[in-house]
Amino acid sequence: MGKSKSIPSSKFKDKAEELSANYRTELGLQFYSRLDAFVLAQHLKIPVIAISCLKGFSKEDLGHLLKLAEWHALTAFVNNVKFIVHNDFNSKPRQQSDLFHELAHIICEHPHEQPKDYENFDFLRSYNKTYEKEAEYLGAALHIPKGGLIAKLKYNRSVDQISAEYLASKQQVYFRLHETGARTIVSRIKAKQLKES
């Protein structure tokens, strides 16, 4: 039996880490700095609209969306115009995570057309597992850079502190710790430093 392919691939993950570092450089930030998702959206020239600021949206419909708490953000592509609408009633860490996820779809250039086999069902959403996994990984990498995570662990920052510094949920921090192997990397660095001292 062959080994199952990991989604996303190692190549994609390396690229995601590189992109996270590169965008920080482009914006004049340090590799370990917090990158604000709204600033990145502006840098990428992607309009972002908060649902509370949507002109002409009825209070009743807004109430419906908020009450059910089903929806966080969407990316739409209409007449060659790409934009993001997000739920700004969510917590700030949640908003950051949602926006990074949507921006990740755009950066990855995930196609917006319905797959050919499903053209007759264009009124239903198509959930592409690979694209979602890629956006999940890249979004998280943009939010919490690998280099920054390692640096903060070296300085013994706790998960709570890292979460606050990156305006991320603890869940997001744990996800990044697991995906990057940052704790193992730092343990090895510290062990090596101890041996050499």
Partner: protein, 121 residues
């Protein structure tokens, strides 16, 4: 012609076919869907395309059984039918109610108008 999914019919046929069997057992029979997802579809939420096709196969029904076609197609102010609005990526629980989807289509239209208007300033 616009199309919608008859979620009521889909839900009732699933419940009827499932009978006394547990959600988890039936979800496994359908394949690659979770019990909570199946429960939400039974409550009338819209499945994504892949899940819908799998459920139809399990029910031994064609997808067309559950599609409602409407002749009157409303044009949005964008100049396109509602179905031409491409809702690219939606970060949400996978299954949304048809009412929520309609509201989100309105969100897209309003947001598009706002983006275009802001771009002209």
């Amino acid at each position: 012609m616009s199309k919608e999914l008859n979620t009521e019919l889909l839900a009732s046929m699933i419940k009827s076919r499932r009978g006394d069997k547990g959600l988890r057992v039936v979800a496994q029979e359908i394949g690659d869907i979770s019990a909570p997802t199946l429960s939400r579809i039974e409550q009338g939420k819209l499945p994504d395309v892949d899940t819908f096709i799998k459920v139809c196969k399990w029910l031994d029904e064609t997808p067309e059984t559950f599609i409602i076609k409407e002749d009157n197609q409303s044009l949005t102010s964008i100049g396109a039918s509602n179905r031409d609005l491409i809702m690219t990526h939606l970060r949400a629980d996978k299954e949304l109610s048809p009412d929520t989807i309609k509201i989100l289509e309105n969100v897209i239209e309003l947001a598009y108008q706002q983006v275009v208007a802001d771009g002209k300033k």
